[in-house]
Amino acid sequence: MSENLPEAHAASHGTDVATHGEPFADPGLPAHEPRRTDIDERAAKRAERQVSLLFVVSMLATVGFIASYASIDADKLVYIFPLGHVSALNFALGMTLGVALFCIGAGAVHWARTLMSDHELPAERHAIEADDDVRNDVIEQFRTGAAESGFGRRKMIRNTLIGSMALVPLSGVVLLRDLGPLPEQKLAHTNWDEATPAKPIKLVNMNTDQPMKPEDVVQGSLTFAKPEGLEESAEDFQQRIAKDALMIVRIAPADLKDAKSAELGFEGILAYSKICTHVGCPISLYEQQTHHALCPCHQSTFDLADGARVIFGPAGHPLPQLKITTDEQGYLVATGDFDEPVGPSYWERPR
């Protein structure tokens, strides 16, 4: 037992065994134990054949890859359990490439593990930091250089250099200015602001592309709408629909909890912005029993019967509502913009 202790160990093995002031002596590197392949030439030969076989399989797989590329149509589907119907070409190329690469790796690792030397060797570490002589020498050289430059002595040069270096990156920042326009009031308005009481804009059903009459809006349904004149072929369609999209619901007037909201609507038909006020996802999930609308991105939930008040989730304010009425032909129209900016909140947004 006692030979495990540092003093005894040092005595019996000479003094070169480090003790590090630890309770137990470091016995030093264990002796190398030969592997089967080190002592049995037949085992070594077998390992050699295994490695070569893996490399041969890799070659065959590469040939298979090229053959698949040349012979399988890109749109051919095959049924492979348990993946289901998959692209035959993708499967063949991926598997052959996978096997070709994997076998090279497996061969190399097997070779290293069975046939290359597994003698563990120690290597000395050297301190990262330089010794004192080198350090002092370098510092001295630097001091000489610094003194010769006069950097510390000529304060005016130093300070103006620092000033110029501090200012010159500003050119880079200024150059970024033309990346885009200034925000101005762009976020505060949508394209519905082209509507006036004299020139109202019709609400057009997003799916049917038809203007809507109040009787088209069924109680308990959710309809998506856009302004008349906004065609999908328009160049700026994406940009406009990102702000103009509407959610139309019809709620029994008795269920409406918010008087102002009811007034902005028409006979219980309410037009809310479809764009969530949290970070701008389109809201698409509606529960007709509770009149709750839920944004699928971050689960902000709005009570459409109560002025689209936020009842759950991370959104910070209600959905903006569009004032709607009907024109002389009985179509639903808007006569102005939303009562407040649509979409996510921002610094300049009035509150």
Binding site: Y69, L97, A100, I104, A108, G180, P183, A245, Y346
Partner: protein
């Protein structure tokens, strides 16, 4: 000059003592050495010793998946058109025939359906990106829990950290490029987040998007950032990271013959060249096979992006899940400041916590060395149990990450486990504060328990499973004493002492008060190494007393 031709040329040449090259390869090496000086370089490195442990290959997976990403990425740029110009699709995927979409989306469809092998390369690129970030996280955990970040490797920790952050963001940018419904929703989220930045938010938004959302600039801009800017920086950092690994030499586990002054293992040539080189092919092969069987990001199923459409379970890739969790669990606080200005705390606070958590990870090595006052070099790794506070902190971080991941996937948890989404969100809100603390406490106690077990093993040996009956009738289990190498390995770790407050008066009797900072540091150090935070190692005396026959039980 003409006379010189008559003289013996070899006489005027400087005499070389260099041996004649034995073969063509040596001659070539000599030629290159004359130009590049490769022999001096190879002298230090050709037989460089690497220690062996399975966990050391995690970093290799990062490196190899990065190389795979670059290779496949170059291929994809040959076909991808980073443009938001509208086109009408007439490809071989019939469900989208005649639909308007951006060129970015159409060319991604083309890569997936028309170009032979394009789908495979796209999927290898995406899978490799996931493996890359996952491997970086796990590699970083390995470095953290073993204390491998300590002097002299703090700077390399920071390089690795930057690689992780850049990798995460480059993943986000790459995910956004196909301009499908899911990726467009991710960009919309980013736009909302930028708008929440006080004062300059709307300006950044306009400049980044070249106007209002979505405009026509964001995909080409992201493309440049994704393929040029970030990978360029990452490549530089990666090279620096590897140079430092070479320069510092690898860390190693404690064991017989291993000290702070040596590194024990096998040489680069041939063993590590074969193992590491082979491992690259293993990683590539596995990722290729994964891409053959597992579809990732089927953009054709989502459709092209439209700002007024969305699909359910809109979620980012998992590594961004913790920011998604933060944004989902935050209450929607919005306040008015300075008359008419809006501060969107509901988005701003999560976006501030996100970098704060990351920064805490980045500076951890500096905090630990400041608290413990440890300025020495460390090359022997800590077993996680022997650094209970560090291990518990790491576990608390991971638990925070996981709880936020649950928050980020609250809709999936709700639908798959039939739970109320509100309940999950409220639970995660509480869990955000409680779970890391509980994890810290449990992990620390667990580590201390394991330390006690080690001590027990050293002093009393290993349970052998053999029951012996003593002459007086008592049954005891025979314990096998440990071998010397195990005794050494189990007791090789250091047990630092906490810092102490300096004496209240100096040697001249003048009162010298410790500042607040010093006091805090002493307190923290006490928290690291003080009583109850480590189990004292067995001493020689304890061992002798037990093994001498007295008090043996």
């Amino acid at each position: 000059m003409s006379s010189a031709s008559g003289t013996n040329n070899s006489a005027s040449k400087p005499t070389s003592t260099r041996a004649k090259p034995a073969n063509k390869a040596e001659a070539t090496a000599d030629w290159v050495d004359g130009r590049l000086g490769i022999y001096s370089l190879a002298k230090a490195n050709l037989r460089k010793i690497f220690p062996d442990h399975w966990s050391f290959m995690l970093g290799e997976i990062c490196l190899y998946s990065f190389i795979i990403i670059i290779l496949t990425g170059v291929y994809l740029t040959l076909f991808f058109k980073p443009s938001m110009a509208e086109v009408v699709y007439h490809g071989s995927y019939l469900p989208l025939n005649g639909i308007k979409m951006s060129e970015a989306y159409a060319s991604t469809m083309n890569i997936s359906f028309e170009i032979r092998g394009g789908l495979l390369i796209r999927q290898i690129h995406h899978w490799a990106a996931l493996v890359f970030v996952a491997a970086m996280l796990v590699h970083m955990m390995r470095v953290f829990f073993t204390g491998a970040f300590r002097k002299p490797r703090e700077i390399n920790w920071v390089f690795g950290f930057l690689l992780l952050v850049l990798g995460m963001f480059d993943g986000f940018f790459g995910y956004s490029l196909p301009d499908d419904l899911l990726s467009g929703t991710g960009i919309r989220f980013m736009e909302g987040a930028i708008l929440a930045v006080p004062i300059v938010g709307t300006y950044i938004q306009m400049f980044l998007f070249g106007g209002e959302f979505p405009g026509t600039d964001i995909v080409p801009r992201f493309f440049t950032i994704h393929v040029l800017l970030i990978p360029g920086i990452m490549l530089g950092l990666l090279v620096a990271h590897l140079i430092l690994v070479f320069y510092h030499k690898h860390t190693q586990w404690a064991g017989p013959g291993k000290t702070e002054k040596n590194v024990v293992g096998m040489p680069l040539m041939p063993v590590y060249m074969a193992k590491a080189g082979g491992f690259f092919f293993l990683v590539f092969g596995i990722i290729a096979a994964m891409s053959a069987i597992a579809t990732i990001n089927p953009i054709w199923a989502y459709g092209p992006y439209r700002p007024d459409q969305v699909s359910t379970d809109a979620q980012p890739d998992w590594y961004m899940g913790f920011s998604e969790g933060l944004i989902r669990i935050m209450p929607g606080w919005e306040i008015s400041v300075w008359g008419g200005h809006t501060l969107n705390l509901g988005v701003m606070v999560p976006l501030a916590i996100f970098p704060a958590v990351l920064a805490a990870i980045a500076v951890y090595p500096f905090i630990e060395s400041w608290v413990t006052g440890d300025k020495r070099e460390h090359h022997i790794l800590d077993r996680p149990r022997n650094a209970p506070v560090r291990t518990a902190l790491g576990a608390a971080w991971i638990s925070l990450y996981l709880i936020l991941l649950v928050g980020g996937g609250n809709d999936l948890f709700a639908t798959h486990l039939h739970l109320s989404i509100n309940t999950i969100t409220y639970t995660v809100r509480v869990g955000f504060f409680v779970v890391p603390v509980l994890t810290f406490i449990v992990t620390k106690r667990w580590c201390l328990g394991l330390q006690r077990r080690d001590k027990e093993k050293v002093l009393h040996g290993r349970e052998s499973g053999i029951i012996k009956r003593l002459p007086h009738g008592e049954f005891v289990e025979v314990h096998t004493p440990l071998a010397q190498k195990d005794l050494h390995t189990l007791t090789a770790h250091e047990q630092p002492q906490p810092l102490e407050l300096p004496a209240e008066t100096d040697e001249n009797g003048v009162a010298r008060k410790a500042g607040v900072v010093t006091k805090a540091r002493v307190k923290l150090s006490e928290g690291f190494y003080g009583e109850g935070n480590q189990i004292a190692k067995p001493t020689t005396e304890e061992y002798q007393e037990i093994t001498s026959g007295h008090g043996h039980h």
